[in-house]
Amino acid sequence: MAGLTLRNVGKTYGAVEVITGLNLDVVDGEFLVLVGPSGCGKSTLLRMIAGLEEVTEGTIAIGDRIVNDLAPSKRQLSMVFQSYALYPHMSVKKNLAFGLQNQKMSKAEIEEKVLNAARILQIEQLLHRKPRQLSGGQKQRVAIGRSIVREPHLFLFDEPLSNLDAELRVQMRVELASLYKRLKTTMIYVTHDQVEAMTLASRIVVLRNGVIEQVGRPQDLYKRPANLFVAGFIGSPKINMLPAVLDQSGGTARLTLGDFGDVELKALATADRAITVCVRPEAMKVGMGEIRTTGTIQLVEYLGSEMLVHFTTASGQALLLHGGGETELDYEPGQEVNIGFNRADMHFFDASESRVEIAG
């Protein structure tokens, strides 16, 4: 078991800066998810931790040992690749045993470890097949099996579920979560899918352009996003963003919120006038709320247990409502409805997109 410490870590390819001055502490036994849009540097960061990519700046330490110049195999970690990277010419059993064969270990011991891993992942009946005879989900299991046989101190996952179909992805997600519960080993998991991040992580790191935007527990990120990017990235369906003008000249805060009219607030801790107000789709209500306007229904997506209603307001602002499927109202596109939300549901972001709290 080992924690991980990143200090001022940077990565440049020639003149291109991929990651800059990144600091991160991963606690021993934590399931940390790195999430961000493609090209944000999350996979590069993972590969740097694995030792597959050179660290051009700063230090990476596993436990209390700096590993910058340590070969990947000496870092006592294992990695699951997006493409699984199973050796096509070896049977499943050989694939599982491959990582043990070059350690000084008896054949019986290898056999036992392989069978044990196969049992955990329920792939015992597949041991003699070749990777090409496996389905996507089975390949995924073998890839995970290959990483657990070595009993590493640190697991790295590089978008391991992105090649699976939606149903399998949900299933494997649950299995990964239970595997983590069972092993209690530090895991670092890269994904661009915020649902995976929310469901698996003990803590999430949101990355953008090689910089950490926010680190925190899933509920922290959801309830108190540190900036507009995190607010938009975490949470599905996507948060509603409303441009607003803030006037704090008279000692009180007066917010002009487009079609929703003017709202009186307690003072906000910012001097900016142009701010953004965000409201989660599930906080939007029909015919209720302290702050209201009239919207025209554009589209209704009925999903059984839940329901998405797309509105536009008089000025053309698009809004999304996320409600339970039990809602009895029969919504039709074109219908005009009174929609609203409560003051407490608003998140405020200043002109530089940082979160603003209500003062006092």
Binding site: A50, G51, L52, A71, P72, S73, K74, L77, S78, M79, F81, Q82, S83, A85, Y87, P88, H89, F98, G99, N102, Q103, K130, P131, R132, R146, R150
Partner: protein
């Protein structure tokens, strides 16, 4: 449909008949077209095959019939060219075939090992001047053999290797064939790099990764290189001619030339018979390794 008049029925029948005639005509045209294509292809392949057929037929003909008739079919099949040809030279063809096999098999092994090794470095390893050396290697493809012939001869002369097989075999173990390196580099680059990386994390060295992961997955490229290498070395004439002086160490192509005597008593029939036999190992090798190409592709089931 009780309103259908007899007139309408007749018209419909006529239309159906016309459609049927057109369909038959179209099928006939298509059949003729296919026939023409086949005739064309068969004729072309016969033209291509003619020299080979001529060679085989000549090897069975009596000496006086070889150049006197255009007829491919011998007036009588005689195996004497084969029997006499095999022992027709001061040294038996058993020796020549053995010599050729030694040179060829060692050359193929040398080419496969050394070229794949060099190709692995170019395809996977990071080292200073990689692109420069790759370009340099590609440039050697463009230098005609005759340019390096004399300097190479002087080199091997100074090493004291003349009249041995070393000048023919040793260079093959030194990745001297840029074509095969290029072929393998292209193939290795297609293999997912993650396989290397996974093995690297498992603690395998670059040599082991080459040996355990890259080589087994490169069977199709290896088989292709083996086939070409075998054919080229087997039929190679100029280098053996230059480096081998003792008739006992001659390879098959050199031996075949001995049938052409400068005093005019050439044994063409025997030469052709031995030429036919010299094709057999090449064909066998091709058939054997061509299967590997197919199997190699079938086993490389990567995503």
């Amino acid at each position: 449909m009780n309103a259908t008049s007899p007139e309408l029925t007749r018209e419909m029948e006529e239309a159906a008949a016309v459609a049927h005639r057109m369909r038959v005509a179209r099928e006939k045209r298509a059949r003729n077209m296919r026939l023409m294509k086949h005739v064309f292809l068969i004729v072309m392949s016969l033209i291509m095959l003619y020299p080979l057929l001529w060679l085989v037929s000549a090897s069975f003909k009596p000496e006086n019939e070889i150049f006197s008739t255009l007829n491919l079919w011998p007036s009588e099949f005689r195996l004497s060219n084969y029997i006499e040809g095999w022992e027709g030279l001061p040294i038996s063809f058993t020796t020549f075939f053995t010599n050729s096999l030694i040179v060829t098999v060692l050359s193929v092994i040398g080419n496969l090992l050394s070229c794949s090794f060099a190709a692995y470095a170019f395809a996977r390893l990071q080292f200073n001047g990689r692109n420069f050396f790759f370009a340099l290697m590609m440039m050697t493809l463009m230098i005609p053999y005759h340019v390096v012939l004399i300097p190479q001869y002087v080199l091997f002369l100074n090493l004291g290797w003349i009249d041995t097989y070393l000048p023919l075999i040793v260079p093959k173990f030194l990745a001297s064939d840029a074509f095969f390196i290029f072929l393998m580099v292209q193939f290795f680059r297609q293999l997912p790099r993650e396989l290397d990386e996974a093995a690297m994390i498992d603690g395998y060295s670059v040599y082991k990764i080459y040996w355990i992961i890259i080589l087994p997955l490169s069977l199709p490229a290896m088989a292709t290189a083996a086939i070409f290498s075998f054919i080229w070395v087997w039929e190679d004439f100029l280098p053996p001619l230059i480096y081998l002086n003792d008739i006992k160490s001659y390879t098959v192509p050199l031996a075949l030339r001995l049938f052409l005597a400068s005093d005019g008593t050439s044994a063409y029939g025997q030469m052709f018979a031995m030429s036919v036999l010299s094709l057999v190992p090449v064909v066998l090798f091709f058939v054997l390794f061509q299967k590997l190409i197919v199997r190699g592709i079938a086993t490389s089931g990567m995503k």
